[in-house]
Symmetry: C2
Subunit: 279 residues, 2 copies
């Protein structure tokens, strides 16, 4: 079983060794600084933010958290982001998603696009999204970059392979499909409306599941010898479980990522890499 586990640990070490080296050799005024915007008070958002703050502390990177009540006017948030865009010691700005329900899709678009593309270390600005789509990426959404990095690190062939992605959010599914496409993969994006989904996932050489439904995927969804990347982080009765039923599929897969402890930490490492490279 051990040899089927696609671990991110050695890749994490590479990324953090490089970050430490960069930070050590920098002058003080070249140090990165992170600004996190949180609107509302979602518990899971606070958990993710704490992980980012902790990592910044460990690396000696300054991290500033700006919390706004859910009912804050959008103009006020955008004004604050515009100010942060101008501050030289802030090298990266992230807006923790999702925004509260009183913010529309259009509000979210406006807020994410008020972050300067140069400081958009989440890669959500339409300018960064466009460059990724065109195969000329400047800043790639962190989880997507992490998944591709993991496949590359383990030298898993991508070109010509059928990569099926269950979940087509702009945060993970869509950008990852574009990255894999530019590596020569055949890419399929499934969503909540997909008909005959198991027929499609059963054709996948590489199956990425990022839909936030605990244990959705069991052995009936997958092909013998396929490679499974489980991006899910679901809190179920005080345990964290993925979107894939690990115990049910393990005998059938070639490789699978564990949850927790693989894509989650990798996402944070890529965020830190973006932040440090961005100075």
């Amino acid at each position: 079983m051990e040899k089927k586990i696609l671990t991110s640990k050695p890749l994490l070490k590479l990324i953090y060794d490089d970050i430490s080296l960069q930070l050590e050799t920098r002058e003080k005024y070249d140090k990165p600084g992170l600004a996190i915007i949180l609107v509302g008070s979602r518990k899971d958002s606070l958990t993710y933010i704490k992980l980012k703050q902790k990592k910044c502390r460990e690396l000696g990177i300054q991290c500033f958290l700006f919390i706004y009540p859910a009912l804050t006017a959008i103009g006020k948030i955008i004004k604050e982001i515009n100010t942060l865009n101008q501050i030289k010691s802030i090298s990266g700005i992230i807006v923790q998603l999702p925004l509260p329900h009183n913010f529309s899709q259009d509000d979210e678009y406006k807020i994410l696009n008020s972050v300067s593309p140069e400081k958009d270390i989440d890669g959500f600005h339409h300018s960064n999204v466009g460059n990724l789509t065109l195969g000329n990426p400047k800043m790639i959404p962190c989880t997507a970059e992490g998944c591709l990095g993991l496949l590359n690190y383990h030298e898993i062939p991508i070109k010509g392979k059928h990569c099926v992605i269950v979940g087509s959010s702009k945060v993970v599914g869509v950008p990852l499909s574009l990255l894999l496409l530019h590596e020569g993969a055949t890419t399929t994006l499934c969503n909540i409306h997909t008909e005959r989904i198991k027929e499609i996932t059963n054709d996948a050489d590489i199956l990425v599941v990022c839909c936030g439904v605990p244990h959705l995927v069991d052995q009936s969804w997958i092909k013998e010898g396929s490679i499974i990347i489980d991006v899910g982080i679901n809190h179920v009765s005080n345990k964290i479980v993925g979107d894939v039923n690990f115990d049910d599929v393990i005998h059938k897969v070639k490789y699978i990522t564990p949850v927790p402890g693989c894509i989650g930490p990798l996402t944070i490492a890529i965020l830190m890499k973006h932040l440090v490279n961005n100075v």
Copy 2:
């Protein structure tokens, strides 16, 4: 057989009626103007340009053609585009693709991105591409918009359906896959490296072929009752043929677009619509 043909004629009439109405009711200083940049002298590029010029003449729209030798410095072309960006009577600028072989992918990127996003009626600027990817399109590549418009005009269901696209260029395949995704489709992009491609195309409810290989797709590629959109325009022994072998597949399909005379004219109509709406 007639009733299997997915014609664009009534949709073309709708688009041109709307354009004519808009042009009639406009003041003279609100008239659109098109600038076309051609680098080199490819015969097929000249053919496409002539079709656009002819359509402009018919509609009474001013059209300016700028031709540069293949060896023109990229800086000179970008400078010319910057000038056109400033001219109020030019409402749309297109750079005829492909550029000559002495231009790199990076050169092409720079040239396409020097067109002001507001005048980019081809939808190739990274800013427009990003907004399309995010499901918030401002300007959509014309052929992709035409294909979706055709499906919608004929009230063909898209949500949940498996749409397979053979050919993943930034001009057609990628933007069309994004449009269909945002309509709730399951989308698959195939390319030249795709393994077991017929297995994948055989699962398609809607198959779009846009790879520029004459008569590539025969009945062994498709599912009984599927809908085929043939984007190919290939010149074979003085005839224009599509990427699909029409005669071989016709008994098996539910609907199919003819070549020539469907997607080609639709692409030009959408370009004219962009130009006129852009004033």
